[in-house]
């Protein structure tokens, strides 16, 4: 019996209009074959009216712990740890939900006579946030009072900046930011944008050092993860939990988690999240105008169009208390917004890669990050089974220009042009080169005093795509402005979608199942497949 598709899954027929898909900072129209299925994001859920009230309610009615006020006593040392700017994408319009969380907590701490308060941005090996970015995320009041002496980025390379907490049962050494370790209480302010954020990952990644990170950010862990968007299917999550539990044993941590809807684009651009067949006349004109403008504008201007306008994300839930029950509640809401059910896997997946990822906020999506998106994030954005069958073909839309941000991604350039041409084998890269490069003094200095990602980060990015890389049979890039960048990544190129589909049909026959994952805004596929029994019934139905 055929299952009724979800309204967000559209099957292309001969009357369907071309699909408008991201290709970096451009949006292009593509005619997809009849019978292809296109997955659209769900409409944004209704946001909370009063976020501050929701934060207050959450910290006074916590899950699995006593209320925050009951943990406070005058004179205690408190650290408020906050996510970095890697989520949400793009950064949300002010005030950011973490500003609400931090301001409510700060007010409460003051009421209890607590003055020894530090704010730490939990960056791990991400680039440090600038003062303006911290201001955007935490607001003027906090930055004016606390920055830079008591509001700063975590520094995983600071001499004596980390405290060793212990070793987990599985042998993971856990060392964490010294200030956090020496605090009587850590309050973690989070925004879970996709289900791999939050939970034990907040503390277990955001505030630790290389000794801990290398134990879970490695090819073996990623290969052992089916998808890292579902904790039960993620070896990465298992290790984070292990680290997080040890931290919670040693430190008192109060978690505040929140999630947002998927309203990525404001009114003038909100048609980007809609089915092209259902656009009003004005929206259709707007889309055409946008496509044409992006065609002739130079790259920085195209980037600016999308970056300069913060996203109007609305907060749809806030929870507080102990790590696990809080994260569970948050994930449930997150799934409710993001999951789009679809039955059956595809032979060919079409993945538009937009201009942004968690690792290039305010910079260009460089070729290594294109691979992170294609084989990492976009591959892993599923629950159940992958969108594409094992050995299937991924068609990726991106220009793959050889552009790297020199300040943020200095180490990426060397990784991409020096190491990847030698080998694409993640295990070999891990074994032969990671240690040496992760200790690169110049890049470490750029991470510590500049705006750069840590030199180990490009390795992690390559590992990030490892389960996708193991899964896909072929990756074909459409719209690449050169062939050598896709070549370094191990991808093929095709000048047009038609040519890419022709190449893919060589593998999958003349009538392959095609699914287009139409991100952005954000969505996640909830893929189900027939059990063997269902499959045989279906065959009989088709025969009769």
């Amino acid at each position: 019996m055929a299952k009724t598709p979800h309204p967000c899954v559209v099957t292309i027929d001969h009357r369907s209009k071309p699909r408008a898909l991201f290709s970096g900072t451009r949006v292009k129209e593509y005619n997809l074959p009849v019978g292809s299925r296109v997955m659209y994001p769900k409409p944004p859920m209704t946001p909370l009216n009063d976020v501050k009230a929701a934060v207050r309610y959450a910290i006074n009615h916590p899950l699995g712990s006593e209320p925050l006020y009951a943990m406070l006593r005058p004179g205690m040392k408190v650290t408020i740890a906050v996510d970095d700017l890697s989520m949400p994408l793009p950064p949300m319009r002010r005030p950011d939900v973490r500003q609400h969380q931090a301001e409510v907590v700060l007010e409460l701490l003051r009421d209890y006579g607590i003055t020894d308060i530090h704010f730490i941005i939990a960056t791990a090996f991400h680039r440090p946030m600038t003062q303006d970015e911290i201001r955007h995320q935490l607001g003027d009041k906090i930055v004016d009072e606390f920055y830079p002496e008591r509001c700063y980025n975590h520094d995983a390379e600071k001499p004596d900046g980390l405290t060793f907490l212990g070793t987990t049962a599985q042998g993971i050494d856990v060392e964490i930011n010294r200030r956090a370790a020496e605090s009587d209480l850590v309050v973690y302010c989070n925004l879970t944008f996709v289900p791999m954020n939050g939970g034990h990952k907040s503390m277990g990644t955001g505030l630790v050092g290389y000794r801990t990170l290398k134990k879970h950010h490695n090819p073996a862990t990623i290969r052992a993860s089916k998808t890292y968007m579902v904790p039960e299917d993620s070896a990465l999550s298992d290790k984070m939990v292990e680290v997080g539990k040890l931290i919670e044993e040693k430190l008192q941590v109060f978690h505040i988690e929140s999630t947002v809807n998927n309203r990525m684009f404001d009114r003038p651009l909100d048609f980007l999240g809609k089915n092209e067949d259902e656009l009003s006349t004005n929206e259709a004109r707007g889309l055409k105008a946008l496509i044409r403008s992006l065609e002739w504008l130079p790259q920085p201007a195209r980037q600016a169009i999308f970056e300069k306008v913060p996203a109007p994300y609305g907060v749809i839930g806030v929870w507080a208390g102990a790590c696990e029950p809080v994260h569970e509640a948050c994930l449930e809401k997150c799934y409710e917004q993001l999951l789009v059910p679809i039955h059956g896997q595809a032979d060919i997946g079409i993945f538009p890669v937009p201009y942004i990822s968690p690792y290039n906020v305010h910079s260009y999506l460089n070729p290594l990050l294109v691979s992170v998106m294609a084989e990492g994030y976009l591959f892993n954005l599923y629950r159940g089974d992958p969108i594409v069958k094992k050995g299937g073909t991924a068609i990726v839309l991106h220009p793959c220009s050889d552009i790297f941000d020199r300040d943020q991604h200095a180490a990426y350039t060397e990784f991409f042009h020096k190491l990847l041409p030698r080998t694409r084998d993640a295990k070999e890269l891990h074994k032969k080169y990671e240690h040496e490069y992760s200790r690169h003094p110049g890049y470490i200095q750029m991470y510590r005093s500049g705006e750069a990602y840590h030199p180990a980060h490009p390795f992690y990015m390559w590992y990030w795509g490892e389960n996708g890389r193991q899964h896909y049979g072929r990756v074909i890039v459409v719209g690449a402005d050169n062939e050598y960048v896709p070549g370094i990544l191990g991808y093929e190129t095709a000048p047009t979608m038609e040519e890419a589909l022709r190449m893919a049909r060589e593998e999958h026959g003349s009538d392959p199942a095609i699914t287009c994952f139409r991100i952005a805004p954000m969505l996640m596929a909830d893929v189900t497949v027939d059990t063997p029994a269902e499959s045989s019934v279906r065959t009989e139905d088709e025969e009769s």
């Binding site: 200095a410 003094p441 510590r448």
Partner: protein, 232 residues
Amino acid sequence: MSSAAYFDVDGTLVGTNLLHPTVYFLANQQSVFKSARRLGQALLGGPVMAVAELRDRRLFNELLFSNFRGMTEDRMHVLSSEAYEKTVAPRIFPGTRDLIQKCKDAGMRIVLITGSLDFTIRPLADELGIPQCDIITNRLEFKDGYATGKLMRPVVAGPTKARLMVADSKKHGHDLQDCHGYSDSYSDVPMLSVVGHPHCINPDNKLRRLAKAYDWPILDIETPSRVDIVRA
């Protein structure tokens, strides 16, 4: 030891240039009159040195150090630690020690290669924990205990730095492709070009443009790191 990190000094690790200690030496002669005379002579040669600096760093070094002609070796050695304390030590960049330490942690041999004179660099090497045998500097020629004002060969500057680094790496068994180089100046492009990992620290405009073209990392160790801000 598998690799080495070659550091230029002036402008790279410390905020001084060759003039700072030189002026200190000239200004601290046995009498005010002698100091004034030496400083005056140096000032008169200023325009010529400025032109030399633009055309050839080696010639500039030779002209600058010619001002030491006639000074006693004893006096220069006595003044060197004072010159270091007064002119160099306060200008060590906030990130210098951490960067050197990170290089050591990465298993690298640290080598200072600079156009400065040996006796002005030795105290800095001691401060940074670098053995005296790992500094490559200019040396003044002395005759009967007096400086002749000439530099001994080879004069450490520009392309010669690269040649000396190649010789040093051979002597110590390093593969230059694994070695790191650090400088602030366009005149050091040759030394940065021979290593596998060139870096620019607080570069001048010409070097910055070149570094951008070749994707060489540009470091800032002059601004206190975000951690040091907290420490302060």
